[in-house]
Amino acid sequence: MTRTASRRTVLAAALTAALSISLTTPALAKETVKLGFIGPLTGGVSNMGLGGRNSAELAVDLRNKDENAKYAYELVPLDDECKPNVGVQVATKLATNRDVAGAVTHYCSAVAMGTVDIYHKFNLPIIVWGAVLPDITYGNEYAEVHRVNGTMINQNEVAADFMVAQGYKSWAIIHDTTDYGKGHNTYFTKFLTEKGGKILGTFGVTSDQQDFTAELTKIKELNPDVVYFAGLTPLAVRIRQQMDKLGIEAEFQGVSGMKSDAYFAGLSGDLAEGTVTFLEGAPAAKLPGGAYFMSEYDKAGFGENYEAYGPFAFAAMNLLIDAVEKVGPDRKAVTKYLADVKDHESITGPISFDDHGQNTVALITKYVAQDGKWVVWEDSEYASGKRQLKHK
């Protein structure tokens, strides 16, 4: 019996710990409104999901501290494991919970593709905070579905333009075989060929691969100007590291999924230096709200970084709360409110939804790794000519 008892204590302790993170004390006398958050909280891309969850939570906490807020907000965070079937489960759970007025959902595109029908069916207004596949907003006519971040189309168009302008001629592409990596590959290839860039080889890798020496040796043989990588930070770190092992001198270019401080933490020496990447939205640090977000995030003492898409989750949650403040916790009204959002100020730049709920302010920011930080290209020593990107 004592063993069972101690197990129960552990369980209770774990529960309490989790609760103290997730629940906030609602102010007295205000009506409580529940808002959902869905993202990958466990598994391989959980760093992104946790960063988003924390940011959404921060938005809720900050509003709850605001005495002028009409409602007390409660976050309902759910884990989709980046799996469509689990996503459908939790989306159903959220959408059928009548107390939930709206939600900020999904980092993984395949999951979002599977759940949009459910949101539509149960009239739950949602704002996508991270998934980048165009079809999530453009593949349907659902009024409930919105997205604050840009699609991978915008990002890759800018990326292709920019890199060609830097004078590069030939590319080798490595992408992971998830929807994210494959989608980026498709669009980048399209835009790059249109702009006259040459692709010497394309390599698909699995998202948990450790060793890339075979692919990279082949790339060494192809001798491109740039190695383009479409995937997330952990793979980016391994690939950059192994490029150096094999003595590949090409420039390293990536996508939004690797714009994380973990890229620097994972790379020794100055290997990260000069890597170029692109991210939708305005650089948070340069907007007044962005600086506020960052300092509040630090103050809140989360265990994890907010990562590339945290600011979007924060912006989306704020927008959702604004909607509820304005029209009340009514799903239909919130959906209607969101349909008319134009030039809404946020920490990622202004938000304007088109008739598919897609944020049309397709602001893409270019970043370059400089001295262990991601620096907005225009502010960097690379743009000013003090440093040079790698040219063979």
């Binding site: 390599f203 060793d211 590291q241």
Partner: protein, 306 residues
């Protein structure tokens, strides 16, 4: 393709093969003494790598700069800790389930693997992101045309092979090895001969896990990066390698490890279709091999007494 590149592929393959073989040897050892598959092996390797990484941070924090001192400390602490972990797993999760269906041990160690992985992800500071493992070995490199061979790679491969040879000698040439083989051969007889059965099992698990820690450190030193999920695939591949080679046989593990590395390299480079199919190719060949040689390339001596 020029000779230099061919050499490069070969060098990559040897490196990869050595790592796989080290993991596979662990599986073979456990299977040898207990007829069990300890599936958490890959995650134990990850724990080894993270222990090594933490030790390094500690060493730097107390102001020791010499990379060789750091390397020795990293190896000693990591191998010792992981060996202890291996023995604990054997004592509390594997031995108690000896009389249960063998699949239970497989499941319990798989679940333990998940728990270890999730534990590191959640409780190691910023554990869900990759960590930069220090380059503690000299990085001078030899360039021959398009072939580049780095000193650290050479050292790592040699060390890895030395460990495998050492393990082989330990099993075949020492009293301890004799006891391990006796237990592997026949538990009852070994007990009658006065061998401390439990002790031998624990020691074997400690040795195998220590080897995994070594492979983890090797992995870290080679890729200069460690992450909480690194053990998952390595474990799966190490297990497959041990099986294709033939369980309960160190040479089988080595053969399987190098074969798997070869398949992946060939799959990524030489196949007429997209390189993304390389795992499909490698695992397809595994299935075909098993159909051809159902008990592995170097078959286990049949213990099926009729």
């Amino acid at each position: 393709m020029d000779i230099g590149l061919l050499g490069q592929y070969l060098a990559n393959g040897v490196m990869l093969g050595t790592m796989y073989a080290l993991v596979a040897v662990g599986f073979t050892l456990f299977f040898g003494v207990l007829d069990v598959i300890k599936f958490s092996h890959g995650d134990v390797l990850m724990i080894g790598a993270f222990t090594g990484f933490t030790t390094y941070l500690g060493i730097v924090a107390i102001g020791i700069e010499n990379p060789w001192v750091a390397l020795v400390a990293v190896l000693v602490v990591s191998i010792a800790t992981t060996a202890a972990l291996g023995a604990l797993i054997a004592r509390y999760l594997v031995l108690p389930l000896k009389s249960a269906p063998p699949l239970n041990i497989l499941l319990i160690t798989l679940m333990l693997g998940t728990a270890l992985r999730e534990g590191v992800r959640l409780f190691y500071p910023d554990g869900s992101n990759p960590k930069a493992f220090p380059a503690l070995l000299p990085t001078a490199s030899l360039e021959l045309g398009s072939f580049s061979l780095r000193a650290d790679s050479v050292i790592l491969v040699s060390a890895g092979i030395a460990v495998i040879i050492g393990l082989n000698l330990l099993i075949n040439r020492t009293r301890l090895g004799l006891a391990i083989r006796a237990v592997a051969q026949d538990e009852e007889t070994a007990k009658i001969m006065g061998i401390n059965y439990t002790m031998i099992v624990l020691v074997t698990f400690a040795i195998g896990s220590g080897a995994a820690a070594f492979a983890g450190i090797m992995n870290g030193l080679y890729y200069n990066e460690v992450n909480f999920g690194m053990g998952l695939l390595l474990g799966l591949i190490g297990f497959s390698a041990a099986i294709i080679g033939g369980l309960g046989n160190i040479y089988g593990a080595i053969l399987g490890g190098f074969l798997f590395a070869g398949l992946q390299t060939v799959g990524a480079v030489a196949l007429p279709f997209a390189s993304a199919y390389k795992d499909v190719f490698a695992f397809g060949v595994v299935i075909a091999l098993m159909a051809w040689k159902p008990t592995g390339l170097i078959a286990e001596r049949s213990s099926d007494r009729v």
